[in-house]
């Protein structure tokens, strides 16, 4: 008991210390976990042999992650991405496996071993990449979606790989006597050892059908029953039970538990309990994945690393180069452009956690010699370690530089308008239409390629590209434009864009969409002329409807709303002056003091107690003289 608690303490402490620091340094959480593992394992030696047991346990985090991935993916969405999934994902796996296997054969490996190596290294890290994409808000971009398609295909491809690997067994490795297949992921539960082919197929198909049918028909009443009991922890237990049960069933019939739970997730994606399930599984997934990465870090064998440093480094670089090359060719083939192309190429160049799973399976199946396996393990780990660095490289070096190539290759901006509109989503669209219908010429920049294509079909002059990149802004006519409208979603990009535009054109009028109050302050400090909070006006209008619905005279409601808005504007203007971007407002005494004063003043003004009313229309309709009659 003590040792279990001690181990839990070590792992948790390592994670709690390393992960926030790593995130703060911009390295991402995955690298934080890996570093935590390296420190408590090979460096300090606090943990030892139990890590490999823990790793098997922690692999369940991957299963849970796929369940959540499935939950977020409705069948219709899955069907819609079938081309990318099969085309992009399928080709990536196929070509990469072939190239890496060919490379391994050139280095003198047998073809069976070479093929196993190819499969181990062809897979990328779903955990690192998805987490990073989510953290950086790139999931919805073309590049993010392409990455997701490839990763999803890889996750599915693991299943046939697990089936093929036992066939690649090298008899010399096993020794002829104890050679057998089918062990490993099935373990003691494998009930299919004595079955013949058609029985296996039948069982497999019925298991999958069972998951789909149960997921579709049975879960809903069961979850309703449990939810009605009002016991939160029982719902959590039921969610865990569902995932574990499906995983168990899949293992039983020899399928990948990851695939099973992914399928269950997809089936439940349309269920009304989707978000509830997601929020229940999410913390377990996060912790288990974290644990998984720690164990990978802890499992790094420094002795092997030191002995084979040159080989490991060379292999890692070679593998990442080959993977990147394949992805680049696919990106060209599938017309993925610009920043998205590089996101795909650099984002998926690493090997992944499924590589670890396959390596241990290969060892059990005698498909890889142990020495090679430990080197491969290091190659996979090192390539994963390098991934955050690649993302940093992508953000800071590649993206700013590739702008030239992009505007010239893809969208030559042929016209310059008086007005540049950055971002043509729900917000920018309205502004653009209003300006166009009043005869003004606009140039629209948007980084969603499909949006640009749609707009062009409607004869709107729009260009694909990230307006936050200086060169594109110049190409759009920043030097001659009268007005810049910044309507992009990304707050940081908006600020960068405005800072740049303001530097280049101190006289240009800039209208920007603000996300919230804090964003308003930062826009104010960056020199935006007109700042519009994206939801403020609609909230005011809703508030006005509410007042009217409660029986207030519409003109009084109008006056109340106008007054509220005026007071709010005044307050925000005052607060903007004392706001310090480096200090959390709650820790800025001047800000807090002023905010409280403004709130009190607003309350008094709205209840009509003070002089504040004097500034407003309310006062103007007061009958003259003494009205206390």
């Amino acid at each position: 008991m003590d040792s279990v608690l001690f181990q839990a303490f070590i792992y948790l402490a390592a994670a709690v210390i390393a992960v926030p620091i790593s995130k703060k340094l911009g390295l991402g959480s995955v690298l934080g976990y890996l570093i935590a593992g390296v420190i408590i394992g090979p460096v300090v030696g606090l943990v030892g042999s139990e890590t490999s047991d823990l790793q098997h346990f922690a692999e369940f985090g991957v299963v849970m992650m796929l369940f959540i991935v499935g939950l977020e993916l409705e069948p219709r969405a899955l069907w819609a991405m079938r081309n990318k999934l099969l085309g992009l994902g399928g080709l990536q796996v196929l070509v990469t496996v072939c190239l890496i296997a060919a490379g391994a054969m050139l280095l003198g490996q047998q073809w069976q071993i070479a093929l196993a190596v190819g499969m181990v290294l062809a897979l990328s890290s779903t955990a690192i990449v998805l987490q990073t994409l989510n953290e950086k808000g790139l999931m919805k971009s073309d590049g993010g979606q392409s990455c997701f398609s490839v990763l999803l295909f890889q996750d599915i491809a693991v299943i046939p790989m697990l089936a093929v690997i036992p066939l690649l067994a090298i008899p010399e490795l096993a020794g002829v006597t104890n050679f057998h297949t089918g062990d490993g992921h099935g373990g003691d539960l494998d009930i299919m050892q004595d079955m013949v082919g058609w029985q296996v197929t039948l069982l497999t198909v019925s298991a999958v059908a069972f998951v789909v049918v149960v997921g579709h028909f049975l879960t809903r009443p069961v979850f309703r029953f449990i939810a009605n009991s009002g016991l939160r922890e029982i719902f959590t237990a039921a969610a865990l039970l569902l995932v574990i049960g499906i995983a168990l069933l899949m293992i039983l019939v020899g399928l990948s538990p990851a695939l099973g739970t992914f399928l269950a997730g997809v089936v439940l994606a349309t269920s009304e309990y989707r978000h509830e399930l997601e929020s229940n599984i999410e913390p377990f997934k996060g912790l288990l994945l974290g644990l998984f990465f720690i164990t990978v870090g802890a499992g790094v064998d420094f002795a092997v690393l030191v002995d084979n440093l040159g080989t490991v480094l060379a292999l890692t670089i070679a593998v990442m180069f080959i993977k990147a090359l394949v992805l680049y060719m696919l990106a060209v083939l599938f017309k993925i452009r610009g920043a998205d192309r590089w996101l795909l190429v650099l984002g998926l160049a690493q090997a992944g956690e499924f590589g670890f799973v396959l390596i241990s399976f290969c060892l059990q199946s005698y498909a890889l010699p142990p020495e090679l396996a430990s080197i491969l393990l290091l190659v996979v780990a090192l390539s994963m370690l390098l991934t955050p660095a690649l993302f940093i490289f992508l953000e800071n070096v590649v993206q700013p530089r590739m702008i030239d190539a992009q505007t010239r290759d893809d969208d030559d901006i042929t016209e310059q308008g008086m007005v540049i509109i950055a971002g043509h989503g729900r917000f920018g669209q309205v502004i653009n239409r209003l300006l166009l219908s009043n005869g003004y010429k606009t140039v629209v920049l948007d980084r969603h390629a499909d949006m640009v294509d749609t707009m062009r079909a409607f004869k709107v002059k729009s260009f694909y590209g990230d307006a936050a990149r200086p060169d594109l802004l110049h190409a759009a006519g920043l030097q001659t434009a009268k007005l810049l409208v910044v309507a992009i979603d990304d707050q940081e990009n908006a600020l960068q864009l405005i800072a740049h535009a303001r530097r280049e054109r101190p006289d240009i009028h800039i209208i920007a969409r603000a996300f919230d109050r804090r964003h308003v302050f930062r826009l104010y400090q960056s020199g935006t002329t007109d700042i519009v909070r994206e939801t403020f006006d609609s909230a005011l209008r809703s508030g006005r409807y509410a007042l009217e619905a409660l029986g207030m005279h519409p003109y009084d409601a109008e006056k109340a709303v106008t007054m509220y808005a005026e007071e709010d504007f005044k307050g925000v203007r005052k607060l903007a002056r004392v706001y310090n971007p480096d200090v959390n407002p709650a820790d800025n005494p001047e800000y807090v003091q002023l905010a409280l004063e403004i709130q009190a003043e607003l309350d008094r003004a709205m209840s009509g107690e003070t002089q504040a009313r004097h500034d407003h229309s309310e006062k103007n309709w007061q009958p003259p003289g003494n009205t206390d009659i």
């Binding site: 005279h553 519409p554 003109y555 009084d556 409601a557 109008e558 103007n620 309709w621 007061q622 009958p623 003259p624 003289g625 009205t627 009659i629």
Partner: protein
């Protein structure tokens, strides 16, 4: 029976002491429609077509408002500017309002003495309302002598409000039943004080026969 339209224009009805009660009373009378313009157009986006249709559906129009700076509240001015269009209310083919009646029912804070040559407002209220009278003339509306409550702020104190509200109801009913004395109106053609010349119900037939 004539259909009477009361166009109420008051930007602060919740603090009103007289106009709100007048409007409430008016809305209880059969054949009288009361429209609160500030409630209908709090953001001054007047629906011109709807307003013109409304005018055409009525025979007598009442402008009811507090007297602001010798004129109507802003929204009623906006209403005139937009609704009384050329080609509708005046000008070529602009005869859609011809033959209808216009009554101004207003409340003034000043005492009746103030609205005299010697008083501090220097003009009679009839004179001050001349722009509306001429507007009516141009639109071929029959302009009725205004129905005015003076010293309206003090009116609550001396119980004149109740009296005024009841008189208002009588005037509206008389308008509806066409019981305003046309002879007396023509003869006086000036400030209607103490009240508009209403013919009692019993003599109504006689007037109709004369007319």
């Amino acid at each position: 029976m004539k259909r009477v339209l009361v166009l109420l224009s008051h930007p602060n009805l919740s603090q009103s002491t007289v106009n709100r009660r007048m409007a409430q009373r008016a809305s209880t009378i059969d054949g009288v429609s009361v429209v609160d313009l500030y409630a209908l157009y709090p953001r001054y986006k007047i629906d011109i077509d709807a307003e013109q249709a409304r005018l055409q559906a009525h025979d007598a129009i009442v402008f009811q408002f507090p007297f602001y700076w010798y004129s109507t509240p802003a929204l009623l001015k906006e209403w005139q500017d937009l609704v009384l269009e050329h080609g509708f209310a005046y000008g070529t083919a602009g005869d859609k309002l011809a033959g209808k009646q216009l009554l101004v029912a207003t409340t003034a804070g000043g005492a009746i003495d103030a609205y005299t040559e010697q008083g501090h407002n220097h003009f009679s209220i009839r004179t001050l309302l001349a722009p509306l009278e001429q507007t009516a003339t141009l639109c071929q509306l029959q302009y009725l002598p205004p129905f005015v409550l003076f010293s309206s702020l003090a009116a609550c104190k001396d119980k004149r409000v109740t009296e005024h509200v009841e008189q208002y109801a009588q005037v509206l009913e008389a308008l509806r039943d066409n019981r305003l004395d046309p002879v007396a109106l023509a003869e006086r053609n000036l400030l209607a004080q103490p009240a508009l010349p209403i013919v009692s119900r019993t003599t109504l037939d006689g007037i109709h026969n004369d007319g």
